[in-house]
């Protein structure tokens, strides 16, 4: 264990969407900037860079986080999943397809974050994690719109596709999300 000196290029290994990447990074590079600027995985968006919008949401070992408020160098032992790892334009993940079908977006800039966040959020629901609304989550019960709204509130959408995002997530959770 040794120090990475300031403003030096450190060897950093990231595992993203199942692929290992060996990079040389300034320790200041956030996970978000590593994805966007260094791996050119630009599906993950920078909306505020301060954890106040959710556009940069990715899954780290299955858990949703704001990639803007984390350093890339902190994630060398983690498996990172971005929107590109869920599905492609030609082979959409069922939740991505639900967003298209329900028109759960307009400009599209918050969308990757909404989708990654929803995947993480549904995992939390299935594990029975409570929310501000109460303590009734669990694998056995279907998530409702009010719970989706509360649990997705860390993802802003200025186009305000909110009602349709909720519909898309609800649709996916009911029809396809049993074991994803």
């Amino acid at each position: 264990m040794s120090w990475i000196e300031a403003d030096s290029g450190a060897a950093v290994t990231l595992s993203v969407n199942g692929t290992r990447h060996d990079l040389k990074l300034d320790a200041r590079v956030t996970l978000l900037d590593a994805l966007r600027e260094h791996l050119q995985l630009t599906g993950t968006k920078k909306g505020c860079d301060h954890g106040q919008c959710g556009a940069c949401t990715v899954l780290v070992d299955g858990r949703r986080i704001n990639s803007c408020l984390s350093l890339a160098v902190m994630h060398q032992a983690d498996e990172i999943t971005t929107i590109e790892g869920l599905g492609t334009a030609h082979k959409l993940h069922p939740l991505q397809a639900a967003f298209v079908a329900k028109d759960g977006f307009q400009c599209g800039y918050c969308t990757s974050g909404q989708i990654c966040s929803a995947i993480g959020m549904l995992g939390e629901w299935r594990k029975g994690w409570p929310s501000h609304l109460g303590d009734h989550a669990g694998a056995a019960s279907a998530i409702d719109a009010a719970e989706i709204r509360e649990r997705m509130s860390g993802n802003l959408c200025r186009c305000a596709a909110y009602p349709r995002i909720v519909e898309a997530i609800e649709h996916y959770a009911i029809h396809e999300g049993a074991d994803t």
């Binding site: 403003d7 301060h50 400009c107 800039y109 860390g154 200025r158 186009c159």
Partner: protein, 743 residues
């Protein structure tokens, strides 16, 4: 070259859209760009990576009025990887705005508002540029400025420019004082609306690349061509030497109309350093250096006789703007035409302040003007003991109440009636403050919506390729509005090809010039130009087939006419390409063209704390032909939610001591979050506006926000009995009027 044009000099009686055998227009069609957006494959401005690209970070003025005396970049320049600290007099002080190729105010010395850009730090990585920007020392000479519009409102003067005649500065008719004296019911109220930020999710960003003397700029712009033209003026280049590309734009709302500081800075830096430069605004910079909806103080005086007919309509607005800038918030726009009434004054004045540039933001004018007018109407209804819908019905004008012109189409009455039925208005709470559910006071509100339908010149190139696929190209943008999809639908319907055979290419200034996205006119202008192009293509196909164009049917790639059936691939050779155009004409002068609607909502106000929650919503709109029901509903929802934010949470706060924007991030500038928004019920009435354009459609994008906030404010009053006239209606303003806790 332009091959076919539609000029709106007369009503367009027959639209080919009504003759399509298998129409996609009017249906709920999923966005054709959807798969790219939901998979992260759509590339936005900052997502380009030319070789050797450098990163720039803008510097900000730490003073609200004065001049920069010294910028000490010694420490910054000594940092590793830092290439330059650029302060160039061509850099722009103010953001650009709509229309025209004039350069925005330039310069990096004089400071007119806190946070204005005064330079650019460039380094070989974002991390290094950002760190260096923190190490630049800026000295300044402070000068007294005007930072508080309310305190300075006596200095308000009429605006100097009526913005192409679209913003009427002052109109009056009759005798308002006499009418006020004679009115049986009079409401005389003063309202305040705060500054707001567009807060599009994608921050402004530009990547500038010089190659062989030509500048290519990947930018996030609603009107790439306006950006190009303004940038050309700023840089002293012919427009043809610049190409701006904005195929995907992460929201605009009026905040990305003209050229912005980051584009100019990137272009200058790339020119100077001989390498591509990327400049992405931080969220804080978006708040401080782009544009804002200005604050307003509005006086509304309404008078009516005892049967509820308006005799007096008076709407006087004071707003603020930087010295020398022409835009002003035309809050009285809808007041001119929404209701009848003999005696009228609509007036606007501007206070010159040292605050960030005021620009258009979604429904400039109506968004804040109807917020207040429709609240005042609610107050008048109460003063008259009339149902607020009935008051509006009694004041429905037959023609424009101030000008001798008919309405091209107007379905406000139907919107109110159908919305009332849909919402269950007859079951509303009728006694303010009297409906309670546990801790929550429940109230209901209604308000009318109206938004002027604008029209402008636009061009589109449509090509039927040799293989039968269709390509549509225009500089027009899709900022989330659905342009890609509706243009594909129009081409598919008019040329008789399946939707997936149509490719739409947008946001490239090398393609035919459009009207851009703004003013709710993007769909109708670009759609009409495409209509013209497709009509010309139909004529050429018919000619090639030896058929009379009026007898031709195009479907599934086959042209049929009596005795003729030919695949279009046989008729186009190696490809057939035409350019269509559209322009406004006599119809735009002879008719008032406006979209209408009505909002109904239920709110719950916590009787203990004053927290407001919107619990139920219905809006009914009439906006001519709806081109794509799915994207139109999304636009309407988006507008309504803008209205909810404006009514309840959004306030861009300026420090009255410096003009500085205090809450310059998304943590403290509260756009609505998921939990704030219930299901939103939207209905569009069947309507055709033959005067508007060949599509018979009117604008949709801004209509939703118009009046939405007033429905909430009226519902809050209905729930609590407290009328708040300073927006947003935050809980602190309700607390004094809430019931005692022990009740």
């Amino acid at each position: 070259m332009m091959d076919a044009s539609v000029k709106m000099d007369a009503p367009f009686e027959h639209s080919l859209l009504d003759e399509s055998p298998m129409p996609t227009i009017g249906r709920e069609i999923a966005r054709i760009d959807g798969p790219r957006k939901v998979s992260g494959a759509a590339r936005y401005a900052a997502e380009h990576f030319p070789e050797e690209v450098l990163h720039g970070v803008l510097l900000r003025a730490p003073v609200g009025c004065g001049r920069i005396s010294l910028v000490d970049a010694t420490a910054a320049l000594a940092m590793p990887g830092v290439l330059a600290v650029i302060r160039d007099e061509r850099m722009i002080r103010n953001a650009g705005d709509f229309g025209g190729d004039a350069a925005p105010v330039q310069g990096v010395e004089e400071v007119a508002y806190f946070g204005q850009p005064i330079g650019l730090v460039v380094a070989d990585s974002l991390e290094r540029a950002r760190a260096a920007s923190l190490c630049v020392r800026v000295s300044f000479e402070s000068q007294p400025g005007v930072f508080d519009m309310m305190a300075a409102r006596d200095s308000a003067l009429p605006p100097t420019d009526d913005i192409f005649g679209l913003f009427l500065i002052h109109t009056e008719q009759g005798d308002v004082e006499r009418a006020a004296g004679e009115a049986q019911a009079l409401v005389d109220t003063v309202w305040e609306t705060p500054s707001q930020n567009h807060a599009a999710m994608e921050p402004h960003a530009s990547v500038a690349i010089w190659k062989e003397g030509r500048l290519t700029l990947h930018g996030s712009y609603q009107s790439p061509v306006v950006t190009r033209d303004q940038l050309a003026t700023v840089m002293g280049l012919p427009p043809s030497q610049i190409r701006v590309l904005s195929p995907f734009v992460g929201g605009g709302f009026g905040g990305k109309l003209g050229v912005m500081p980051e584009a100019v800075a990137a272009a200058i830096a790339a020119q100077q350093l001989g390498r591509p430069v990327k400049v992405v605004m931080t969220r804080q910079q978006v708040f401080e250096t782009t544009g804002r909806r200005p604050m307003t103080r509005q006086r509304i005086r309404l008078g009516a006789n005892s049967d509820g007919r308006l005799t007096l309509v008076q709407h006087e607005t004071i707003t603020d703007q930087l010295e020398g800038e022409v835009f002003f918030e035309p809050a009285g726009l809808a007041t001119h035409l929404l209701y009848a009434g003999e005696n009228r004054v609509v007036d606007h004045k501007v206070v010159r302040t040292n605050k960030q540039l005021a620009v258009s933001m979604r429904a400039p004018g109506e968004a804040v003007g109807l917020l207040t007018l429709e609240c005042a109407m609610d107050e008048l209804a109460e003063a008259l003991s009339l149902d607020p819908i009935e008051l509006r019905l009694r004041n429905e004008p037959k023609s424009h109440p101030e000008m001798d012109m008919p309405f091209s189409s107007r379905a406000l009455v139907d919107c109110l009636r159908q919305g009332a039925a849909r919402f269950g208005w007859e079951r509303r709470n009728t006694s303010p403050g009297q409906m309670r559910d546990g801790d929550w006071l429940v109230g209901h509100g209604v308000a009318a919506a109206a938004r002027g339908n604008l029209f402008g010149p636009s061009r589109v190139r449509a090509t039927i390729q040799g293989d039968g696929r269709v390509v549509v190209e225009t500089e027009m943008t899709d900022i989330g509005t659905g342009t890609y999809t509706i243009l594909a639908q129009i081409a598919a319907d008019l040329l008789g090809v399946p939707l997936k055979q149509v490719e739409v290419r947008l946001g490239d200034t090398d393609d035919p010039r459009s009207a851009g996205s703004g003013g709710s006119w993007g769909a109708t202008t670009s759609g009409s130009a495409l209509y013209a192009a497709c009509a010309e293509l139909r004529a050429r196909l018919a000619a090639a087939a030896g058929a009379c164009v009026d007898a031709v049917t195009l479907t599934d790639g086959i042209l049929t006419a009596p005795g003729i059936s030919r695949p279009i691939t046989e008729l186009v050779g190696n490809g057939l390409s035409v350019e269509g155009a559209t322009e406004p004409g006599e119809s735009n002068r002879r008719f008032n063209q406006t979209s209408y609607g009505a909002h109904f909502c239920e709110v719950r106000v916590n009787a203990v704390t004053g927290e407001v929650r919107v619990s139920r919503w219905t809006s009914v709109f009439a906006a001519g032909r709806i081109l794509n029901l799915q994207t139109a509903i999304s636009q309407a929802i988006g507008g309504v939610v803008f209205g909810i934010g404006g009514a309840l949470t959004e306030e861009l706060v300026h420090d009255p001591r410096t003009g500085k924007i205090v809450n310059r991030d998304l943590g403290e500038y509260h756009v609505p979050a998921h939990a704030d928004i219930p299901a939103i019920d939207i209905q569009f009435l069947e309507e055709r506006d033959l005067v508007a354009n060949p599509l018979h459609a009117k604008g949709v994008g801004e209509l939703g926000v118009c009046g939405a906030g007033a429905a909430i404010a009226n519902a809050v009053y209905n729930a609590t009995g407290v009328r708040v006239r300073q927006f947003p209606i935050t809980l602190d303003k309700l607390l004094p009027g809430l019931p005692a806790i022990a009740e």
